[in-house]
């Protein structure tokens, strides 16, 4: 019975955590710029306002279905990621499934934005996909490295191994090279400042979100919040030893997120090819060397 409860409430819990983290990030950046910044629950207000817009426009049936695929894909992903107290679905799919399901919302949004026939959106999507090629290779490499090390591809087993081994067996500590490579790749995956090439408000009018208004943008913000938490949980489960109780889990989430935002608050934005070149010059060789350590 409690699995059914978990199934219903898990997306809501993750949405709430994600939105509070986004509100926290806006407050954090405001404080760095020596101003008060919006209240923590600001992102809730934004999402509510967007969903309660009276008029909405869409450019065709694919634009609407893209919204369903976008959030539907993310909702499907969050069940596969083991979260403290609930990992019923974790045994049905492993890391590879999670990695591929993470791509489904990206493709869904890409199709919807393509339908809006706005070149800003198309440029945003082509940059997002190039950035995806940039950060995904090191990230998946770290998976492959761990898979080979512990001879399993299931996320749940990897977490259990780290839990059993205590502090020293954390992924970040046992092989730091993979940890740091994955951290840089994670910065790209969340779309934070140095790699925020897809939503470049000054250059391409918020890229993919140019033609998204009202409830479409609301659904995109909900998806951004949930996928933010899912991606951070991926990193925590692999490198920071997962979490068995909610308190430890939220602490790790906020610490990791603070590290990422502080990088975001200080850096300017890379050009797209520099960003991809950076991703292939620094994290990729790091990950490869990390794997060499694992083999020999």
């Amino acid at each position: 019975m409690n699995t059914v409860l978990w199934i219903i409430f898990l997306p809501i819990i993750l949405f709430v955590i994600g939105t509070f983290m986004l509100g926290y990030s806006r407050k954090f950046i405001a404080r760095i710029e020596r101003r008060y910044g919006p209240p923590i629950q600001q992102v809730f207000y934004d999402v509510f306002k967007l969903m309660s817009k009276k008029t909405n426009i869409s450019h065709g049936w694919m634009h609407d279905i893209a919204m369903l695929v976008l959030l539907g894909g993310t909702l499907a992903t969050l069940y596969f990621v083991p979260v403290p107290g609930f990992s019923y679905f974790a045994q049905y799919g492993d890391m590879l499934v999670i990695m591929y399901i993470l791509l489904v919302p990206a493709l869904g949004m890409a199709l919807g934005v393509g339908e809006t026939a706005n070149p800003n959106g198309s440029i945003g999507i082509s940059r997002a996909l190039m950035m995806l090629a940039g950060y995904d290779i090191p990230f998946v490499l770290t998976f492959i490295g761990f898979g080979m090390l512990n001879h399993t591809t299931s996320m749940y087993d990897l977490m259990m191994i780290q839990q059993a081994g205590g502090f020293t067996s954390w992924g970040l500590i046992s092989n730091p090279l993979l940890g740091i490579a994955a951290l840089i790749a994670l910065q790209g995956m969340i779309g934070e400042k140095p790699f925020e090439v897809m939503v470049a408000p000054h250059e391409i009018a918020t890229g993919p979100m140019t033609e998204m208004g009202g409830k479409f943008l609301g659904i995109m913000m909900i998806q951004h919040a949930i996928s933010l938490v899912v991606e951070l949980t991926l990193y925590i489960n692999l490198f920071l030893g997962g979490a068995m109780n909610w308190f430890e889990y939220i602490i790790k989430l906020f610490v990791l997120f603070t590290v990422l935002i502080s990088v975001n608050a200080v850096f300017g934005r890379f050009r797209t090819d520099d960003a991809v070149r950076f991703m292939w010059k620094i994290p990729l060789p790091m990950a490869v060397i990390g794997i060499l350590f694992i083999i020999f």
Partner: protein, 190 residues
């Protein structure tokens, strides 16, 4: 108009309280007032405390800032952008140029009062108001939304002919914005 306001349901009151905290401002600098916005956004005056931050495209924006005089050529673009905005949208007229022509009151090329062409929610007097005045007007706007009186955007839908006739008087011919406002009014039941 008066009795319609008091019948607001509980849900409308709650949603008014929540939506007033998040207003996205279209960073569309049409006139000389745009230079007043950076100080209102940054450290000293920081309008993000009230949940107002700049947004790039009309599809996502709630507030359309008309900062200063509008030549006929820019007025065309402003009308197009206004029609591209969504749902409850508020136009804020900056400075005396939007109220009664301001410094260019006797010019042949600039429009004189903004609310003949698009419905305006609040005006801010001053030949470029200071950031304090801007923050004060935003607070008035928030209070107005809270009271549920900020319905000027429905005017555009209800008496569209009035605005269209004024616009065509100034423009050479009707501009093509691909929006059928009357059909939208019926579709969205405004």
């Amino acid at each position: 108009m008066e009795e319609k306001l008091t019948q607001r349901s509980v849900w409308e009151k709650i949603s008014a309280k929540l939506t007033k905290r998040s207003l996205w401002m279209l960073h569309y600098c049409t006139g000389c007032g745009a230079v007043e916005l950076p100080p209102t956004m940054t450290a000293r005056f920081d309008m993000e405390r009230f949940g107002i931050n700049p947004m790039v495209t009309p599809r996502q924006a709630d507030i359309l800032l008309i900062t200063g005089y509008l030549s006929i050529k820019t007025l065309k673009r402003v009308v197009l952008t206004y029609e591209q905005m969504q749902g409850p949208k508020y136009v804020v007229g900056f400075g005396s140029c939007t109220i009664n022509g301001g410094m260019y009151w006797n010019s042949y090329a600039t429009m004189k009062s903004l609310d003949r062409y698009i419905p305006v929610e609040t005006y801010i007097a001053g030949c470029m108001p200071r950031p304090e005045a801007i923050i004060a007007s935003f607070n008035d706007l928030i209070a107005k939304i809270d009271r549920g009186e900020a319905n000027s955007w429905k005017e555009y839908y209800n008496n569209y002919d009035f605005y269209k006739e004024n616009q065509n008087k100034v423009f050479e011919g009707p501009i093509e914005t691909y929006n059928d406002i009357k059909a939208d009014a019926a579709l969205f039941k405004i």
